[in-house]
Protein backbone atom coordinates (compact mmCIF):
# COMPACT_ATOMS: atom_id res chain seq x y z
CA UNK A 1 0.00 0.00 0.00
CA UNK A 2 1.31 3.44 -0.69
CA UNK A 3 1.18 6.14 1.88
CA UNK A 4 0.21 8.98 -0.43
CA UNK A 5 -2.83 11.11 0.26
CA UNK A 6 -6.00 10.56 -1.78
CA UNK A 7 -5.37 13.69 -3.84
CA UNK A 8 -1.80 12.52 -4.51
CA UNK A 9 -3.08 9.22 -5.86
CA UNK A 10 -5.57 10.66 -8.34
CA UNK A 11 -3.46 13.60 -9.50
CA UNK A 12 -2.38 13.25 -13.13
CA UNK A 13 -4.97 10.62 -13.94
CA UNK A 14 -7.12 13.09 -15.86
CA UNK A 15 -9.93 15.30 -14.75
CA UNK A 16 -13.25 14.00 -13.54
CA UNK A 17 -16.57 14.43 -15.37
CA UNK A 18 -14.96 14.49 -18.82
CA UNK A 19 -14.84 10.75 -19.43
CA UNK A 20 -17.47 10.77 -22.15
CA UNK A 21 -16.23 13.83 -23.97
CA UNK A 22 -14.06 12.13 -26.59
CA UNK A 23 -16.68 9.45 -27.29
CA UNK A 24 -19.46 12.02 -27.63
CA UNK A 25 -17.38 14.34 -29.84
CA UNK A 26 -16.61 11.43 -32.14
CA UNK A 27 -20.36 10.76 -32.57
CA UNK A 28 -21.26 14.43 -33.00
CA UNK A 29 -18.61 14.97 -35.68
CA UNK A 30 -19.81 11.72 -37.31
CA UNK A 31 -23.34 13.10 -37.62
CA UNK A 32 -21.94 16.41 -38.87
CA UNK A 33 -19.85 14.60 -41.46
CA UNK A 34 -22.84 12.56 -42.57
CA UNK A 35 -24.68 15.78 -43.43
CA UNK A 36 -21.73 17.77 -44.78
CA UNK A 37 -20.12 15.09 -46.95
CA UNK A 38 -23.53 14.11 -48.36
CA UNK A 39 -24.00 17.75 -49.33
CA UNK A 40 -20.50 17.80 -50.85
CA UNK A 41 -20.88 14.61 -52.94
CA UNK A 42 -24.33 15.55 -54.26
CA UNK A 43 -23.24 19.14 -55.02
CA UNK A 44 -20.28 17.87 -57.04
CA UNK A 45 -22.37 15.40 -59.00
CA UNK A 46 -24.96 18.02 -60.03
CA UNK A 47 -22.37 20.57 -61.22
CA UNK A 48 -22.61 21.16 -64.98
CA UNK A 49 -18.86 20.58 -65.51
CA UNK A 50 -15.52 20.63 -63.70
CA UNK A 51 -13.99 23.60 -65.53
CA UNK A 52 -11.95 26.00 -63.39
CA UNK A 53 -14.32 28.96 -63.83
CA UNK A 54 -17.37 26.88 -62.85
CA UNK A 55 -15.67 25.56 -59.72
CA UNK A 56 -14.16 28.89 -58.65
CA UNK A 57 -17.51 30.70 -58.98
CA UNK A 58 -19.32 27.85 -57.25
CA UNK A 59 -16.87 27.77 -54.35
CA UNK A 60 -16.86 31.56 -53.85
CA UNK A 61 -20.60 31.67 -53.02
CA UNK A 62 -21.40 31.99 -49.29
CA UNK A 63 -23.84 29.04 -49.44
CA UNK A 64 -20.97 26.86 -50.67
CA UNK A 65 -17.99 28.38 -48.85
CA UNK A 66 -19.63 28.14 -45.42
CA UNK A 67 -20.53 24.42 -45.55
CA UNK A 68 -17.17 23.74 -47.21
CA UNK A 69 -15.32 25.40 -44.30
CA UNK A 70 -17.52 23.51 -41.83
CA UNK A 71 -16.83 20.26 -43.69
CA UNK A 72 -13.05 20.79 -43.62
CA UNK A 73 -13.10 21.57 -39.88
CA UNK A 74 -15.40 18.64 -39.14
CA UNK A 75 -13.54 16.09 -41.29
CA UNK A 76 -10.17 16.89 -39.74
CA UNK A 77 -11.48 16.87 -36.16
CA UNK A 78 -13.24 13.53 -36.79
CA UNK A 79 -10.01 12.17 -38.30
CA UNK A 80 -8.04 13.44 -35.30
CA UNK A 81 -10.40 11.74 -32.84
CA UNK A 82 -10.33 8.46 -34.77
CA UNK A 83 -6.59 8.34 -35.35
CA UNK A 84 -6.01 9.31 -31.70
CA UNK A 85 -7.85 6.13 -30.65
CA UNK A 86 -5.82 4.13 -33.18
CA UNK A 87 -2.57 5.47 -31.68
CA UNK A 88 -3.74 4.91 -28.09
CA UNK A 89 -4.68 1.32 -28.90
CA UNK A 90 -1.70 0.24 -30.97
CA UNK A 91 1.33 2.39 -30.12
CA UNK A 92 2.59 1.04 -26.81
CA UNK A 93 5.92 2.80 -26.45
CA UNK A 94 5.41 6.00 -24.45
CA UNK A 95 7.90 8.10 -26.38
CA UNK A 96 6.65 6.93 -29.75
CA UNK A 97 3.06 7.47 -28.62
CA UNK A 98 3.86 11.07 -27.67
CA UNK A 99 5.65 11.66 -30.99
CA UNK A 100 2.88 10.20 -33.18
CA UNK A 101 0.23 12.06 -31.21
CA UNK A 102 2.13 15.35 -31.65
CA UNK A 103 2.57 14.64 -35.36
CA UNK A 104 -1.14 13.85 -35.73
CA UNK A 105 -2.14 17.09 -34.06
CA UNK A 106 0.25 19.17 -36.16
CA UNK A 107 -0.98 17.44 -39.31
CA UNK A 108 -4.72 17.91 -38.72
CA UNK A 109 -4.48 21.51 -37.50
CA UNK A 110 -2.14 22.59 -40.30
CA UNK A 111 -4.27 20.85 -42.96
CA UNK A 112 -7.56 22.20 -41.69
CA UNK A 113 -6.24 25.77 -41.39
CA UNK A 114 -4.76 25.55 -44.89
CA UNK A 115 -8.05 24.30 -46.38
CA UNK A 116 -10.16 26.88 -44.57
CA UNK A 117 -7.79 29.69 -45.59
CA UNK A 118 -7.97 28.68 -49.27
CA UNK A 119 -11.78 28.64 -49.26
CA UNK A 120 -12.06 31.87 -47.28
CA UNK A 121 -9.61 33.68 -49.57
CA UNK A 122 -11.59 32.60 -52.63
CA UNK A 123 -14.88 33.65 -51.02
CA UNK A 124 -13.58 37.03 -49.83
CA UNK A 125 -11.41 38.12 -52.73
CA UNK A 126 -12.96 36.28 -55.68
CA UNK A 127 -11.32 33.80 -58.02
CA UNK A 128 -7.84 34.45 -59.39
CA UNK A 129 -7.69 34.71 -63.18
Amino acid sequence: MDSRTYIGRVRGLGSAKHGGEHWLKQRLTAIGNLLLTSWFVISLLVLPNFEHATLAQWLAQPVVAVPMILMIANIFSHARLGLQVLIEDYVHDDGLKFATMALLNFYVVASAVFGIFVVAKLAFTGAAA
Binding site: R27, A30, I31, L34, T37, V41, L45, N49, F50, H52, A53, L55, A56, L59, M68, I75, F76, A79, S111, F114, G115, V118, V119, K121, L122, A127, A128, A129
Partner: protein, 113 residues
Protein backbone atom coordinates in the same frame (compact mmCIF):
# COMPACT_ATOMS: atom_id res chain seq x y z
CA UNK B 1 -6.80 5.95 -47.60
CA UNK B 2 -8.66 8.72 -45.81
CA UNK B 3 -5.43 10.71 -45.49
CA UNK B 4 -4.77 10.39 -49.23
CA UNK B 5 -8.33 11.52 -49.89
CA UNK B 6 -8.00 14.51 -47.58
CA UNK B 7 -4.68 15.55 -49.13
CA UNK B 8 -6.15 15.33 -52.64
CA UNK B 9 -9.16 17.37 -51.50
CA UNK B 10 -6.83 20.10 -50.19
CA UNK B 11 -4.76 20.05 -53.38
CA UNK B 12 -7.97 20.36 -55.40
CA UNK B 13 -9.23 23.31 -53.32
CA UNK B 14 -5.85 25.05 -53.42
CA UNK B 15 -5.62 24.62 -57.19
CA UNK B 16 -9.07 26.18 -57.63
CA UNK B 17 -7.98 29.07 -55.40
CA UNK B 18 -4.69 29.35 -57.29
CA UNK B 19 -6.35 30.19 -60.60
CA UNK B 20 -6.95 28.54 -63.97
CA UNK B 21 -3.30 27.70 -64.54
CA UNK B 22 -2.81 25.89 -61.26
CA UNK B 23 -6.11 24.06 -61.78
CA UNK B 24 -4.85 22.94 -65.20
CA UNK B 25 -1.73 21.54 -63.53
CA UNK B 26 -3.90 19.67 -61.02
CA UNK B 27 -5.99 18.21 -63.87
CA UNK B 28 -2.87 17.22 -65.80
CA UNK B 29 -1.63 15.05 -62.94
CA UNK B 30 -4.86 13.89 -61.35
CA UNK B 31 -7.52 13.67 -64.07
CA UNK B 32 -6.06 13.46 -67.57
CA UNK B 33 -3.02 14.96 -69.28
CA UNK B 34 -4.64 14.62 -72.72
CA UNK B 35 -2.51 14.86 -75.87
CA UNK B 36 1.25 15.05 -75.32
CA UNK B 37 1.13 13.51 -71.86
CA UNK B 38 4.50 12.58 -70.39
CA UNK B 39 4.74 8.97 -69.20
CA UNK B 40 4.98 10.24 -65.62
CA UNK B 41 1.66 12.07 -66.08
CA UNK B 42 0.00 8.98 -67.53
CA UNK B 43 1.17 6.89 -64.56
CA UNK B 44 0.02 9.67 -62.22
CA UNK B 45 -3.42 9.79 -63.92
CA UNK B 46 -3.96 6.06 -63.43
CA UNK B 47 -2.65 6.20 -59.89
CA UNK B 48 -5.21 8.90 -59.03
CA UNK B 49 -8.05 7.11 -60.85
CA UNK B 50 -7.40 3.98 -58.81
CA UNK B 51 -7.05 6.13 -55.70
CA UNK B 52 -10.37 7.83 -56.47
CA UNK B 53 -12.09 4.46 -56.73
CA UNK B 54 -10.51 3.20 -53.50
CA UNK B 55 -11.25 6.43 -51.62
CA UNK B 56 -14.85 6.43 -52.88
CA UNK B 57 -15.35 2.88 -51.64
CA UNK B 58 -13.62 3.62 -48.31
CA UNK B 59 -15.80 6.70 -47.91
CA UNK B 60 -19.10 4.87 -48.47
CA UNK B 61 -17.99 1.86 -46.43
CA UNK B 62 -17.03 4.15 -43.53
CA UNK B 63 -20.32 6.05 -43.88
CA UNK B 64 -22.53 2.91 -43.99
CA UNK B 65 -20.64 1.27 -41.15
CA UNK B 66 -20.75 4.54 -39.20
CA UNK B 67 -24.53 4.81 -39.53
CA UNK B 68 -24.78 1.18 -38.37
CA UNK B 69 -22.69 2.00 -35.32
CA UNK B 70 -24.78 5.10 -34.52
CA UNK B 71 -27.81 2.77 -34.44
CA UNK B 72 -25.91 0.30 -32.24
CA UNK B 73 -25.00 3.21 -29.93
CA UNK B 74 -28.67 3.81 -29.10
CA UNK B 75 -28.81 0.17 -28.00
CA UNK B 76 -30.67 -1.35 -30.94
CA UNK B 77 -29.85 -4.29 -33.19
CA UNK B 78 -27.62 -6.41 -30.95
CA UNK B 79 -29.35 -9.73 -31.74
CA UNK B 80 -26.88 -11.92 -33.63
CA UNK B 81 -28.97 -12.26 -36.76
CA UNK B 82 -29.97 -8.59 -36.96
CA UNK B 83 -26.42 -7.50 -36.36
CA UNK B 84 -25.05 -9.78 -39.06
CA UNK B 85 -27.72 -8.70 -41.56
CA UNK B 86 -26.94 -5.00 -41.15
CA UNK B 87 -23.19 -5.59 -41.23
CA UNK B 88 -23.61 -7.25 -44.65
CA UNK B 89 -26.13 -4.64 -45.77
CA UNK B 90 -23.68 -1.83 -44.97
CA UNK B 91 -21.02 -3.49 -47.10
CA UNK B 92 -23.38 -4.12 -50.02
CA UNK B 93 -24.69 -0.53 -49.84
CA UNK B 94 -21.10 0.75 -50.00
CA UNK B 95 -20.38 -1.37 -53.10
CA UNK B 96 -23.52 -0.10 -54.87
CA UNK B 97 -22.91 3.55 -53.93
CA UNK B 98 -19.31 3.29 -55.19
CA UNK B 99 -20.41 1.69 -58.46
CA UNK B 100 -23.06 4.38 -58.94
CA UNK B 101 -20.65 7.27 -58.39
CA UNK B 102 -17.90 5.70 -60.51
CA UNK B 103 -20.24 5.05 -63.46
CA UNK B 104 -21.88 8.47 -63.09
CA UNK B 105 -18.56 10.31 -63.09
CA UNK B 106 -17.10 8.19 -65.89
CA UNK B 107 -20.10 8.68 -68.18
CA UNK B 108 -20.76 12.32 -67.43
CA UNK B 109 -17.41 13.96 -66.80
CA UNK B 110 -14.61 11.81 -68.13
CA UNK B 111 -16.24 11.14 -71.50
CA UNK B 112 -15.76 7.39 -71.09
CA UNK B 113 -18.65 5.73 -73.03
Amino acid sequence: MATAGMMTLLWWLASIGGGAESYATFQKYVVSAGEGATSFQTVSNWFFRLLALAVTFSFFQHMASGIRHLVLDIGAGYELKTNRTWASAAFVAAVFATAFVALFVASRFLGVW
